[in-house]
Subunit: 277 residues, 2 copies
């Protein structure tokens, strides 16, 4: 579990604000791993070993594990336990429900004694309002990462609806800022909208932003940093497919490391440019 201060310290130490997304798909991992009792966990373990000194966060995507029933959940639990203690370990679950149900999801992902999983942070969807956020905040030191502006095509359907002077995603940020501070809440902001970062920084000057969409989805790291970086960095940039599937041969872990290293070096430059380090 990392506090805001600890996360910033890790970013400065590693010169990286990389989050490695573990969207592990049995159909995309190297063939030779299928001989192992749990190919998904085996894949994740090697990816983690190869990247842990280059990133400050990991983000397994729950759906990819849930798709395989019991086997998938066991792989997620084992992965959670294997994640380093000095990274921010995020479950990308995008849950959102009423209070008594969010409380159960909080147990599922935060309470290791109940479920086997003790993640540090969870992504949530804001449609049901404060009910979808508050129960997670009851866990001291854990983070809630709220969907604001996503990088998908469907983000246009509702997130850009005008409501008063705001787009819906702006209204979400303004409201959620009343629920907790930048030490407990982050926002998901898609990298394909880099010019929107200027705007978002008006409402969320200090919050960390979790940014998917760099790499495979076409977002530019340079633009994200130009418009979104703060004096404390304030960014976690996620890359999933471009790292974990950099190769599907026996060298996949080395290839993942090379890709993570290339991103980390670009990030170090950006951190220096912005005076964070």
């Amino acid at each position: 579990m990392l506090s805001r201060e600890q996360l910033i310290a890790e970013i400065k130490k590693k010169k990286s604000f990389l989050c490695v997304g573990l969207d592990t798909d049995i159909d995309k991992i190297p063939e030779f791993l299928k001989a192992y009792p749990d190919p998904i966990f085996e894949f994740n373990k090697r990816i983690i070993d190869a990247t842990a000194d280059l990133c400050v966060a990991y983000k397994p995507n729950s759906a990819f594990y849930e798709a395989y029933g019991i086997k998938g959940l066991q792989a997620l639990i084992d992965t959670c336990k294997y994640l380093p203690k000095d990274t921010l370990n995020i479950i990308d679950a995008k849950r959102g429900d009423i209070g008594n149900t969010s409380d159960k999801y909080a147990r599922a992902f935060f309470d290791e004694a109940e479920s086997g999983m003790g993640f540090d942070a969870i992504t949530v969807t804001p449609y049901m309002g404060n009910d979808s956020v508050k129960p997670y905040l009851a866990y001291d030191g854990k983070w809630v990462i709220i969907l604001a502006l996503t990088s998908s095509v469907g983000s246009k359907d509702f997130q850009y609806l005008q409501t008063g002077d705001d787009f819906l995603y702006e209204a979400v940020i303004k409201k959620a800022n009343t629920w907790a501070g930048a030490d407990r809440i982050m926002y998901v902001v898609g990298a394909t909208k880099s010019t929107e970062f200027t705007n978002i920084r008006q409402y969320a000057p200090d919050n960390f932003l979790l940014v998917p969409g760099v790499g495979a989805q076409g977002g530019s790291l340079e633009d994200v940093c130009k418009y979104g970086m703060t004096k404390d960095c304030g960014l976690l940039v996620n890359a999933s497919r471009s790292i974990i599937y950099a190769s599907n041969g026996e060298d996949f872990a080395d290839a993942a490391r090379a890709e993570a290293l290339s991103l980390q070096r670009q990030m170090a430059e950006e951190l220096e440019k912005a005076g964070v380090i």
Copy 2:
């Protein structure tokens, strides 16, 4: 799996539009069940046996199972397999993500060969737009139940934001109606807002509405029917706690049946009053 026509036929046959919510909580089930290898499944099995002729749908709430890790998921899988073939079996999962991730959630809950679970319908949250809905519709005959207006306190945070001439929840219904018809899409509408049903029926004249909030949460069945019922019924009214926790003694299944029967009788009256049967 039930088509729209089959669902309507079941409603007329059983004179019921009751959905029994299986929000099964290990801390609330009768003590004596804890001697069984899987107390949660044992509880659900007896609830299902006691209510199957009185309801047309079951709705396990995924969070309640996920909270217990592997054991919980196994109970959910076993419950799914045990659900009758002539009821609409809904997983209340409120997922919502980008396309490639929604596709994995669809496998998790619809594709029994992959995950062990073959539900007929899933609840989804609309914040990410069409991406959160389309992958489920690729499964022939399966249903997507989209959150529109919920019964929780937090519904006020965003669902009632004014956008153009509409509240956000109205914009959600209008947009989602362009994605598929009333044979594939239902909406969640909280019963605590019964006067809103008149309004919703303007935009969704034929869609089934899944209505939580009757009973424990204070909504009135009569009002829901007055404002929301169509010539085909068009309603699935969910009751969870008021049925499954009607007693926490050895008679819990009988007490659940008595509660379900009382609701079914009120529903039969409403169906007659509206000329559905």
